[in-house]
């Protein structure tokens, strides 16, 4: 029974990882680039939204769109500043480093906006309920439904709609898509905005279950999203969803048996082991089939 309860808690908690991983996966899938400042731009979006809320004293109904708006705007800022200028092949690593550097800027702005180390965050006030001796947190149940719902919508949008085709065409080969007359720069910016909206939803749901926000939230988002995505397979939307749940499950068990520090230790151990053994992710492709010619056509 105890074992089942931990598993339930872990999976429910993992749904927030899934949501963040979806945003990561979207950007990686389309641009083949990693935005290390993703978590920090979500934190910044939240921090600005909280500041606006403080100043204007608005209700939670309006607060949600404000969070989404500022999350997508800060994500767009990262795209314009760190990714758009480095659109060559050599720019892949440069843009990653650039986003790594902008990480500290965004985190610092956020902590200036949230002067106390922790800041309360509006909670959805959903109560916990019990089914057959097992406890379910209502807000976490909501999370997992929304995570599932969003990944389903995203999946349908990317695989079944005409706009999704454009997105995948750019992901498949940006150069060829350009030949088809596709404005790849616009697609990239829109992808970042969409990832910002997704991340905004994730951030709102996660923070409302915690009912507080700390400056560490940015780092937390980046790491958990990254790990969940890499477990599931880089750029795979379904992989990101399941990766998040799996990560939550594993963390819950390890931290229960070995203590809270092991929640984080588990995260990084899994990441390192996956990278060493199967860099393409558990559900992704094996990227190094031909070791000799791994990097390019000669």
């Amino acid at each position: 029974m105890e074992y089942i309860q931990i598993s339930i808690d872990g999976i429910l908690y993992g749904s927030s990882y899934s949501l963040i991983a979806l945003g990561f996966s979207l950007v990686f899938g389309v641009m083949r680039r990693i935005n290390l400042a993703y978590g920090s731009s979500l934190l910044l979006g939240v921090a600005i939204a909280l500041w606006v809320e403080n100043e204007l004293n608005i209700s939670i109904i309006f607060f949600i769109p404000i969070v989404l708006f500022f999350c997508s705007m800060s994500n767009l800022y990262v795209e314009r500043f760190c990714f758009a200028p480095h659109n060559t092949k050599a720019g892949v690593v440069v843009s990653m480093i650039s986003s790594f550097a902008i990480w500290m800027q965004l985190d610092e702005i956020s902590s200036q906006l949230l002067p106390d180390r922790t800041h309360s965050f509006p909670s959805l006030q959903i109560s916990t309920f019990e089914v057959g001796g097992l406890f379910f947190r209502g807000d976490q149940i909501l999370n997992i439904f929304i995570a599932f719902f969003i990944s389903a919508i995203l999946f349908l949008a990317v695989y079944k709609t005409k706009y999704g085709i454009v997105l995948r065409a750019v992901a498949n080969s940006a150069d060829t898509a350009k030949l088809m007359g596709c404005n790849t720069k616009l697609v990239n910016s829109l992808t970042f905005i969409l990832a910002g909206v997704l991340g905004g939803i994730a951030a709102f749901l996660v923070l409302s279950t915690e009912s507080q926000v700390t400056p560490l939230f940015g780092f937390w988002c980046t790491v958990k999203g990254l790990v969940a995505m890499m477990i599931g397979g880089l750029g795979s939307l379904t992989g990101a969803f399941w990766g998040g749940l799996l990560l939550g499950l594993l963390e819950a068990h390890f931290s229960y048996h070995f203590g809270p520090v092991f929640r984080e230790i588990t995260t990084f151990s899994i990441l390192l082991i996956v990278l060493i053994i199967r860099p393409g992710g558990l559900m992704g492709v094996n990227i190094y089939k031909d070791l000799k010619s791994r990097d390019e056509r000669i």
Binding site: I34, F81, C82, P85, H86, A90, G91, V92, V93, V94, M96, I97, S98, F100, A101, I102, W103, M104, Q105, L106, D107, E108, I109, Q112, F219, V223, L226, M230, V261, E264, I265, F268, S269, L271, L272, L275, I276, P279, Y288, L291, R294, D295, E296, I298
Partner: protein
């Protein structure tokens, strides 16, 4: 010199070791987000050896170098198939794993100068080497600066060696490197190991200077800074990383009205510099141009 000034200079010197270790890895074409771990390993080793075993600083720093280098060696061999983003994230997770394990390492001993030894989240306190040996801040600065100078001079001399040229070729174009018989594995592993050692050495000095260390000091932000310094400095010359250190700590931190916004300014500055100089300020091309000018002058 005022104590404030000495402290800033010492900090600049110590963080230069991380910057240079990031630089060494960049030479072989990889990006490490985890050099702070080797700095931390070095710090804990020196702290342990000088306090618990009472060893000499030279031996302690030597072990800091060796142990960090060994960890780096293991990491580089394990991640031999990874490059680019994958290596960067692997180094990051290694570093975080190290930092988190520090919270679990507890081995303390009571001495007449207080509790010493790694003590989980409390950190490692009472590293009293500089007090016991009556090393003034000025003298410590001399020690730190001369170690750094020795390292940089060594690197400058090595710059023209076949070893470094081959390593740079491996970093730039593994295909050409292989086509003329250079084994990328050797240079990659070698330089990542060396970089680990250099960071560890700096970490050792840091532990002595700070007199106490704790896990949170070796977080990701330390790595971001070290990497950012060497990236904006450029890969052309070993002095490059120092430019980054100077801009950040020398200018932003020590100018009072800027220091409050230092992280905001510096993060933006790095991104902006990367747009203008994607290869850093002292880029390899710049160095080649200068060399060419010099050759033409001597010929003329």
């Amino acid at each position: 010199m005022s104590l404030y000034f000495v402290t800033i200079l010492t900090n600049m010197t110590l963080i230069s070791f991380i910057a240079i270790s990031a630089y060494l890895i960049l030479i072989v074409g990889e990006v490490s987000f985890g050099q702070q771990a080797f700095f931390g390993i070095g710090a804990y080793i020196t702290a342990t050896l000088t306090t618990l075993l009472g060893l000499d600083i030279v031996i302690a720093l030597f072990f800091s170098f060796m142990v960090s280098a060994s960890f780096a060696l293991v990491l580089s061999v394990l991640t031999i198939r990874l490059s680019g983003f994958y290596f960067a994230v692997a180094s990051l997770s290694f570093a975080e794993l190290f930092r988190l394990s520090l919270y679990k390492i507890e081995y303390t001993v009571e001495t007449n100068s207080g509790t010493v030894g790694p003590n989980g989240p409390e950190g490692f306190q009472n590293i009293r080497w500089i007090f016991e040996n009556n090393v003034s801040p000025d003298n410590f600065l001399v020690i730190a600066v001369s170690s750094l100078l020795a390292l940089i001079i060594l690197l400058i001399f090595m710059e023209n060696s076949k070893l470094f040229k081959n390593a740079r070729l491996v970093g730039k174009d593994q295909i050409v490197a292989q086509s003329i018989g250079i084994r990328p594995f050797f240079y990659r592993v070698g330089f990542i190991t060396l970089a680990g050692g250099v960071a560890g050495f700096g970490g050792g000095l840091f532990a002595l200077f700070n007199t106490y260390i704790e896990p949170s000091m070796f977080g990701i932000m330390l790595g971001v800074h070290g990497l950012a310094y060497s990236i904006i400095g450029g890969l052309g010359y070993p002095l490059g990383p120092l430019i980054g250190v100077f801009i950040d700590i020398g200018l932003l931190e020590s100018v009072r009205f800027l220091s409050e916004y230092r992280m905001i300014l510096f993060g933006g500055l790095v991104a902006a510099i990367l747009i203008i100089f994607p290869e850093g300020i002292i880029s390899p091309r710049l160095i080649s141009r200068i060399k060419r000018k010099l050759v033409k002058k001597t010929n003329a």
